[in-house]
């Protein structure tokens, strides 16, 4: 909704152009050409790594090794895809990523939405305290090692999905965004529902949640993309290969291909790896790239909501 405001700004330049009241100076016209060119350049630089990645994914090893693959595939073939598809570990890890993303997002949404709803009620006694204990963790937190000791040694969650889906289940930023959304929820609706005999639970699940789809979708996307992209907690708490998410699979592939031991023998292995790396990277980002055009505006509105209230 905030993105809409951006485009609703009165377009004075347009008015000026139509009416021809004020002529533009030559300098300004030059500036505009330079500006548009520079922005096109920004787009090109942003997109180039992705284009290069796609080109490498469809190229044969020889051309990549010779450094001849830039924008278009050379020696077009799909063999590399077959090699990657044939690796069972890749599919296992890809499935793990899906599982961790779904479970992690579900847990995070359950905790965040109930917490945010309770905090959004002004008559909740001790509200300041309950907001405070969450906000404080934004400024001060336990370091890497105390967290590691708690999760790996004390809770014994090594090689457990819990180590991945539970510790990050509450983002205070998302909590504050959701809280401010619920605060603006029309009280009349809730009061009417209460008069009709609904309890707090009924109001929350049957009135508030169904009418908050926009913010729920935004928050779900925030958490889901975070889980899809995350690798470090799995890297830290897991040593069983079959439990890795695909990001860790990819990390190990890259580390093996670009490790310092590789540079000395150079040969075939490195070339195949750079091919396979490209395909694996492509398959990892594919869901995000496909969804991106549709989800981007939710992210933008979420960030701006948070910046106003958080």
């Amino acid at each position: 909704m905030v993105t809409e405001d951006l485009s609703r700004k009165p377009d004075l330049a347009h008015v000026r152009r139509e009416t021809g009241v004020i002529r533009e100076s030559l300098g300004y016209r030059v500036f505009r050409v330079v500006n548009v060119t520079a922005l096109l350049l920004v787009c090109a630089v942003t997109l180039y790594p992705f284009v290069n990645l796609v080109a490498k994914a469809f190229s044969s090893e020889g051309y990549i090794a010779a450094g001849e693959v830039n924008l278009i595939p050379r020696g077009f073939n799909l063999d590399t895809f077959q090699v990657v598809f044939a690796d069972d570990l890749f599919w296992t890890n890809y499935a793990n990523t899906v599982l961790y993303t779904v479970v992690g997002t579900a847990i995070a949404m359950a905790i965040t939405s109930t917490y945010a709803y309770a905090l959004s009620k002004p008559h909740l006694k001790g509200r300041t305290f309950f907001v405070g204990i969450a906000v404080f963790t934004m400024f001060f937190s336990g370091g890497l090692i105390p967290n590691y000791i708690l999760i790996a040694s004390y809770l014994g969650w090594r090689n457990s999905i819990l180590a991945i889906v539970v510790p990050g289940a509450l983002s205070v930023f998302n909590l504050l965004v959701m809280k401010s959304f619920f605060e603006n929820f029309p009280t009349e609706l809730e009061e009417a529902a209460a008069i009709d005999g609904l309890t707090t639970y009924g109001i929350f699940f049957r009135i508030v949640l169904p009418l908050s789809k926009a913010v729920l979708a935004t928050m779900t996307l925030f958490y889901a993309v975070g889980h899809w992209n995350s690798w470090f907690s799995a890297f830290l708490y897991m040593d069983d290969k079959s439990l890795f998410p695909v990001t860790v699979y990819l990390r190990n592939l890259i580390a093996a291909a670009t490790g310092t031991q590789e540079i000395t023998d150079g040969g075939e292995a490195a070339q195949v790896a750079s091919n396979i790396q490209a395909v694996t990277m492509l398959l990892t980002v594919l869901p995000i790239i496909c969804l991106y055009p549709f989800i981007q505006r939710y992210f933008v509105s979420g960030v701006m909501l948070g910046s106003v209230k958080g």
């Binding site: 700004k9 377009d11 004075l12 330049a13 347009h14 300004y28 548009v36 922005l39 920004v42 942003t46 997109l47 790594p49 992705f50 290069n52 990645l53 450094g67 830039n70 359950a110 965040t112 917490y115 309770a118 009620k121 008559h123 909740l124 001790g126 300041t128 305290f129 309950f130 204990i133 969450a134 963790t137 400024f139 336990g142 370091g143 890497l144 090692i145 105390p146 967290n147 000791i149 708690l150 040694s153 004390y154 509450l170 309890t199 707090t200 992209n229 690798w231 830290l236 990819l250 990390r251 670009t258 310092t260 750079s274 490209a278 990277m281 990892t284 995000i288 981007q296 992210f299 701006m304």
Partner: protein, 334 residues
């Protein structure tokens, strides 16, 4: 568990809230809610309080216990022993790293890398936002925004993978270099190239997304200011300098303070993925050093002491930046 926590906060919540905030409104509307006792509040809102149980337990276990766990920086920790350590050793572990030459190497690497990142990635989103603001075609503007936000959604593993591919011996950077007659360079094995490559990848990943808040701030500037300036004969540059930039200054200051706060925590995950032992002399930072000695070599107390030191510097920096900003330009986070 939650009940005792609620009880502790009762007096302050009762005393502070109404009296301080709305002295004027009090006269018309007596503070009915503030006098509700905990027993009455729980009887009335018990269902709402059940919503708080899981999140509060979660915060206690996963945020507050690790926070208290920082105490092992001052205590000897025995694997399998108490999570809070076994015996006090004072500043033993702090002395250990302060007298360690390797620590100071990674300390200065962190400061330099953090400073370079801040210097480059802080102003660029402002420039890009101003450029986008001058674009007339809304369609073109939206396309540029969509494309430039894209890298923000990529996993750090992907970003690191792209960087390593582009800077490899057969990568694009070397192709361009050889086209201009230079010899190919194995960039990721040369310590002197680590910082430029890291900062460039940060620019690629963050600049587009960084414009969002500035673009939002730009829409709040009153168009009448520009009209008035034009009537007074101000050129486009003057308008930018005297109206646009002052208009987004509060946003700039807030983001600057936040950036300074995360200055010492330079992108840990990305550095970890990009570095290799050949570039440790420039590419090893406190966070990655801490990870190696703390987790990989299992020196838990030593690592925690370093982590606390880093966090303390971050906190001091943010407080300092906030105070300076409030004194000099009147903008602050709190």
């Amino acid at each position: 568990m939650t009940h005792s926590v609620e009880a502790q906060s009762a007096p302050e919540a009762r005393a502070a809230a109404p009296a301080r905030e709305h002295p004027r409104r009090l006269r018309r509307k007596p503070p009915r809610r503030a006098t509700v006792t905990w027993r009455r509040a729980l009887a009335r809102d018990w269902r709402l309080y059940t919503f708080l149980v899981v999140p509060v337990v979660f915060l206690l276990v996963f945020k507050y216990i690790p926070m208290l766990g920082n105490v092992i920086a001052f205590r000897r920790f025995r694997p399998g022993g108490s999570i809070f350590g076994d015996e006090w050793v004072g500043f033993y572990y702090f002395e250990a790293f302060i007298t360690n030459q390797q620590f100071w190497n990674v300390f200065w690497n962190t400061v330099i890398l953090g400073a370079l990142t801040l210097l480059v990635t802080f102003p660029l989103p402002i420039v890009l936002a101003l450029m986008l603001n001058e674009v007339r075609s809304r369609r073109f503007k939206r396309i540029v925004q969509t494309i430039s936000y894209l890298p923000h959604f990529m996993s750090i593993v992907i970003v690191a993978g792209l960087v390593l591919q582009l800077t490899a011996l057969n990568g694009t950077v070397n192709q361009v270099a050889t086209a201009f007659g230079a010899d190919p360079v194995p960039f990721m094995q040369r310590p002197e190239w680590f910082r430029p490559i890291y900062v460039s990848s940060e620019v690629w990943q963050t600049v587009g997304w960084g414009t969002i808040l500035y673009l939002a701030a730009l829409t709040t500037i009153d168009d009448q200011l520009y009209e008035a300036a034009r009537v007074d004969g101000a050129s486009r540059w003057k308008q930018t300098w005297h109206i646009t930039l002052p208009g987004i200054r509060p946003m700039m200051m807030v983001l600057l303070i936040l950036n300074i706060g995360s200055f010492m925590a330079v992108g840990f995950e990305k550095v970890l993925l990009l570095q290799n032992p050949l570039v440790y002399s420039t590419g090893d930072v406190i966070a990655t050093y801490l990870y190696r000695v703390g987790i990989q070599s299992a020196q838990f107390s030593y690592g925690t002491a370093i982590g606390l030191f880093e966090a303390a510097i971050g906190l001091v920096l943010v407080l300092l930046a906030n105070t300076l900003s409030r004194r000099m330009v009147g903008t602050s986070l709190w």
